[in-house]
């Protein structure tokens, strides 16, 4: 921030505007639904990413494997030598984004084939969704940075929205998106897209052209992630991370961001995270102080658990939270099973939970 703005603010405080993340309110009013949800399956922390329902079974990407949840114990369906990320169910089988390999299709009989190993889809694929005309829609968070945190702090806008047909041909529907992190298709063929670093969920024409984008949810208090249809015209979405005012204030001081990004590891940055792995290196904010053995649920937090359901009109209908005093943080995947149960892949805590119905006590 320049000296001039400082002076201006000193003289007329109302004349200078600062970015402020909105509070969690209305449909996003905090509760403990995610924290108190029943656990379907446990994995190592950060050991689970996406969840889909395939052939009546919940299937999750868990590290270098894909596992099916039947009863309690996960049964490994397929293993890889690289991390498996986003999943999508196609009529032909299960599409899996394997880091460094591309999009791989797993058939019901266990055989696999590479759907596409084109460079653009080999890495940083954040979400997959079946396209109504066959094949897949895919989002790529960034073509420059592997880590979301780095893309955020460097204000990267190099994400892609891609269409992959069943033959493996890749079409770019749009480029230059600020970390697209979720994609879905509405009944009329319109595309719903989570643009995480713009804090919006937008609707686009089936062509995906940027000119047709209309925001459905705007100025969200977090960075929205994957989307899935709830079946009644509404959509479930996850919010892996919440925005932080302290982080956003750093954007006013590019030198400081540059110094942080170039001289320290991501785990010590003051940025929202899925999980704090080494607290010894993590910054702390005043509200997070443990006072008399308690951490306040309202504490400003760098990790948070949130899944929410919204209508196409832009109204957030319900949400499930795990707050600062909880541990089910970093929800990255969501799926609705055949009975209408909502499964959330909580990556930070490494578990799959099933959240109860709204109003059920």
């Amino acid at each position: 921030m320049s000296r001039w703005t400082d002076l201006k603010e000193l003289i007329a405080p109302g004349s200078v505007r600062h970015t402020v993340a909105p509070p969690l309110e209305a449909g996003l009013r905090p509760n403990r639904r995610l924290q108190d949800a029943s656990v379907r399956s446990r994995f190592a922390p950060l050991g689970v990413d996406d969840v889909v329902v395939w052939n009546g079974r919940a299937v999750v990407s868990a590290g270098r494997a894909v596992a099916a949840l039947e009863g309690g114990e996960p049964a490994t369906v397929w293993t890889s030598d690289a991390e498996v990320g986003a999943l999508a169910v196609l009529p032909e089988g299960l599409a899996m984004a394997v880091e460094g390999r591309g999009i791989i299709l797993l058939s019901g009989d266990g055989s696999t084939r590479v759907l596409s190993d084109e460079p653009r889809v080999r890495t940083r694929v954040t979400a997959l969704h079946p396209h109504p005309d066959g094949g897949l829609l895919a989002t790529v968070g960034s073509t420059r940075h592997d880590q979301w945190e780095r893309a955020l702090m460097l204000r990267d806008r190099s994400g892609l929205l891609l269409r992959i047909d069943i033959g493996g041909r890749v079409d770019e529907l749009d480029t230059g998106i600020a970390w697209p992190a979720g994609v879905a298709v509405e009944a009329d063929g319109a595309i719903l897209l989570s643009v995480a670093n713009d804090h919006v969920v937008e609707r686009r024409a089936p062509s995906g052209a940027p000119a047709t984008a209309r925001t459905v949810l705007h100025n969200l208090p977090g960075y929205p992630g994957r989307l899935v249809a709830a079946g009644d015209g509404t959509w479930w979405a996850v919010m892996p991370r919440l925005r932080s005012r302290a982080t956003e204030l750093m954007f006013e001081f590019p030198d400081m961001v540059q110094e942080m990004v170039s001289s320290t590891e991501v785990d010590s940055w003051l940025v929202p995270r899925l999980r704090i792995e080494v607290p010894h290196r993590a910054p702390l904010q005043v509200g997070e102080l443990s006072v008399l053995g308690q951490i306040k649920p309202w504490a400003p937090t760098r990790t948070y658990g949130l899944a929410f359901r919204f209508a196409s009109s832009g109204q957030i209908v319900e949400s499930a939270h795990s707050r600062a005093d909880g541990d089910r943080h970093g929800a990255t995947g969501v799926a609705v099973d055949d009975e209408g149960g909502v499964l959330v892949a909580v990556r930070g805590a490494g578990c799959i939970v099933e959240i109860g119905q709204e109003g059920v006590r």
Partner: protein, 726 residues
């Protein structure tokens, strides 16, 4: 008293960072005298520029004219200051002066009364005129502005009536000694008028500043409502202000009558605007309650000089009035804006984050370092769990009773089997921090926000330090002890204690962590009771410990991750030298260990982000302004540990609470009979762990170097005579 030692050069920070211009400005603006000083300085500059551009005005003739005008206008300015201080205004002063002047002349010339009689009657008449204003404003509660505007017109009409009724008799001058002395006399070359002005000035100044009525007057002018709530008779005070104003106007009138003898009907016209200009130039606030008669007089001098300069330059009275009116407008605007924003500006400039360059950071999670993880504090036995809140420090007596502070201001004494008996041993009213036993077995406690208290074994509390001698050449008043933190007793019986910040009190700890300035200091309580600053420029001076040999004091500088040594005797007396620098954590209290080493607690861990954060004061300034307190960034304060270090400053042992839930914040530890007691400012318990026998040495940590072990409370309960011991 020697000059305090300065620890700043040890820190290796830029010299330029030590002082902050903004802070200096903030301190300056915060002074209450600044309210009037700025307009006054501007006014004096204005007057000087007029005087210097028209040298003609320093001639004896001009000086004499100016002296006469000064006497009359000065008295009016003092009169106006009185009502302005009371929160009112008086526009009728010119008319009152004119009317009383004519009245005096009528008495003197028409009725041929002696001068010595005329003057008191004139003053009484002025009092009556003032009482009319006072009655309407104070009793009927009409607005001062409109009331005095109306009375001004009325008095002037009365003046014309009197003047036309007695115009024939008024023209004959008379000779009278008193009268001549009043108008043209002088004592020691000083004209009578000026002498009267000076006497009035001194009397009114003393009354305003030293009498009850003067204080009441300013209180009423500052805030009528709170003055009333404080039992001040607002009505009477206001009424008397207008009466006093009337009397002073009458005195002016008498002087005018004696000096000029003018019988014009426009006598005194326009004087109210000139007096108002003079007063506002002098920095008397139009908003009430603030100002001084001395400054008002300086303003009058400026106005008189300007008037005479314009007279010499141009000769037109109209131009003089025009210039003065312009000056009045400008200075009234300055008064309004300055008075409104001075304090706010001072506050906006008050927080000035420090640019701190920390050295390389040791990774405490690296297993090859002494900092590697362990679980040594995990199984600490809880004491007072669920009862005490925030025991920053603790000590133990000879009956194994634990004494610890509480954030509610209490000192607990916890005793008995399993520490189930707890009682409030003393109440301090502040935030009890460091504890120590003195040589007489009294508990001496640093109390954040107050100072240092001595508590005898029965629980009676006595304050032994609540303020220090003010250091010279400091704009900021560092008399108050705002954040007494830790303490220890030296071999000569004096007590050394740290004041974490000479500016920020214990309640604003977080502001200190955001600002990160080396404002901390170390003070010494002499056995004779005097309190002096002995060392300065510590960033949150915290742990204090007398060394085993009694020659030096160890001082932990929390925010600069270091421990320094202040020599208190021997060849290096008065010098400071580093002991441990650039630790990966923020040190808190230090205490002696039984094996000749020292215990030190760490209140928080340094993080890589913290080091960057500290190099960017501009971010921290924005943070303190834009973010709510809960979102301010801190060091990692939910993890902390206890260390043992040697006399040479090598850390040889670290004890962690790996759960980070029982003792997430360790601010102190105290070794007693093979146990280590652990306190923490935000914890809900005191913990104790049994030390490994290999770590326990022959030294009693509670023995004061050079003075031996004090007899602690509880000794009598368990002491066994030597002969009986097996």
């Amino acid at each position: 008293m020697a000059r305090p030692a300065d620890a700043y050069p040890l820190n290796g920070q830029r010299w330029a960072s030590k002082h902050s211009f903004r802070r200096w400005l903030s301190d300056l603006l915060d002074k209450s005298w600044m309210e009037g000083a700025v307009p006054l300085v501007l006014a004096v500059i204005l007057g000087l520029s007029f005087a210097l551009t028209t040298p003609a005005i320093v001639s004896p003739g001009d000086m004499s004219v100016m002296a006469g005008r000064l006497a009359e206008l000065g008295l009016l300015a003092i009169a106006l200051t009185l009502v302005l201080l009371a929160g009112g205004i008086d526009l009728s002063i010119g008319a009152m002066a004119g009317l009383t002047s004519i009245a005096a002349l009528v008495m003197f010339r028409v009725y041929e009364m002696p001068g010595a009689v005329v003057v008191p009657i004139t003053l009484a008449f002025g009092a009556i005129l003032g009482a009319v204003n006072g009655f309407f404003i104070a009793v009927v509660k009409t607005r001062p502005f409109i009331t005095t505007l109306v009375t001004a017109i009325t008095f002037r009409a009365l003046l014309q009536v009197v003047q036309s009724a007695y115009s024939a008799g008024l023209t004959f001058p008379r000779v009278d000694l008193t009268w001549a002395f009043l108008g043209r006399g002088a004592i020691a070359m000083i004209p009578t008028g000026i002498l009267i002005l000076l006497v009035v000035l001194v009397v009114v100044h003393v009354m305003l500043n030293r009498s009850r009525w003067g204080w009441w007057l300013k209180a009423v002018g500052s805030d009528r409502r709170s003055a009333r709530r404080n039992g001040i008779p607002v009505q009477r005070v206001t009424f008397l202000a207008y009466v006093a104003c009337g009397v002073l106007c009458a005195l002016t009138g008498a002087l005018m009558a004696a000096r000029q003898g003018s019988t014009s009907a426009s006598l005194g016209a326009g004087y109210e605007i000139i007096a108002l200009t003079a007063v506002v130039l002098g920095g008397v606030s139009l908003r009430g309650g603030r100002g001084s008669v001395v400054r008002a007089l300086i303003g009058t001098v400026v106005v008189v000089v300007i008037g005479q300069s314009i007279f010499r330059l141009n000769g037109e009275t109209a131009v003089e009035v025009m210039v003065l009116a312009g000056v009045l407008l400008i200075f009234a605007a300055i008064d309004e804006k300055w008075g409104l924003h001075r304090a706010g500006l001072a506050q906006k400039l008050a927080i000035n984050p420090f640019h701190y360059r920390a050295g390389p950071l040791v990774d405490v999670t690296d297993p090859s370092t002494v900092w590697r993880a362990n679980k040594e504090l995990d199984d600490a036995e809880p004491i007072g769990l669920g009862l005490i809140e925030g025991p920053e420090d603790c000590v133990v007596d000879d009956a194994e009773r634990v004494y610890c502070g509480d954030r509610r201001g209490w000192i607990w004494r916890i005793s008995g089997e399993g520490y189930r008996d707890a009682q409030i041993f003393a109440r301090t009213g502040g935030t009890p921090l460091g504890h120590v036993w003195d040589q007489h077995g009294n508990l001496v406690v640093c109390v954040g926000g107050i100072g240092v208290a001595r508590i005898d074994p029965t629980g009676d509390l006595e304050w032994i330090a609540t303020h220090a001698k003010r250091r010279r050449f400091q704009l900021h008043d560092d008399t108050a002890i705002r954040f007494a933190d830790d303490l220890d007793v030296a071999p000569d019986g004096s007590i050394y204690f740290s004041d974490a910040s000479s500016r920020i009190s214990a309640g604003n700890l977080l502001q200190m962590a955001a600002e990160y300035r080396p404002d901390g200091r170390v003070l010494r309580i002499d056995p004779d009771g005097s309190v002096d600053t002995v060392a300065t420029s510590f960033a949150s001076a915290n742990g204090i410990c007398t060394s085993h040999d009694g020659q030096s004091i160890l001082i932990a500088s929390t925010l600069f991750f270091r421990v320094d040594r202040l020599w208190i005797s021997g060849p290096k007396q008065g010098q400071i030298e580093p002991v441990i620098e650039n630790m990966p954590a923020l040190p808190d209290n230090i205490n002696r260990a039984s094996d000749g080493n020292y215990w030190m607690s760490f209140t928080a861990l340094r993080t890589p982000f913290l080091d960057i954060f500290l190099r960017h004061p501009e971010y921290r300034r924005a943070m303190t302004k834009q973010l709510p307190l809960d979102e301010w960034v801190l060091p990692q304060q939910n993890l902390s540990c206890v260390a043992k270090f040697t006399e040479a400053g090598d850390i040889i042992k670290i004890m962690w609470d790996s759960t980070a839930s029982k003792h997430p914040l360790v601010t102190s530890m105290s070794e007693h009979r093979g146990w280590l007691y652990i306190g923490g400012l935000q914890n809900n318990r005191v913990g104790r762990v049994r030390l490994d026998p290999s770590e326990i040495g022959p030294i009693d940590p509670y023995a004061i170097p050079g003075l031996g072990r004090p007899v602690l409370p509880g000794t009598a309960d368990i002491v066994v005579p030597d002969g009986v011991r097996g």
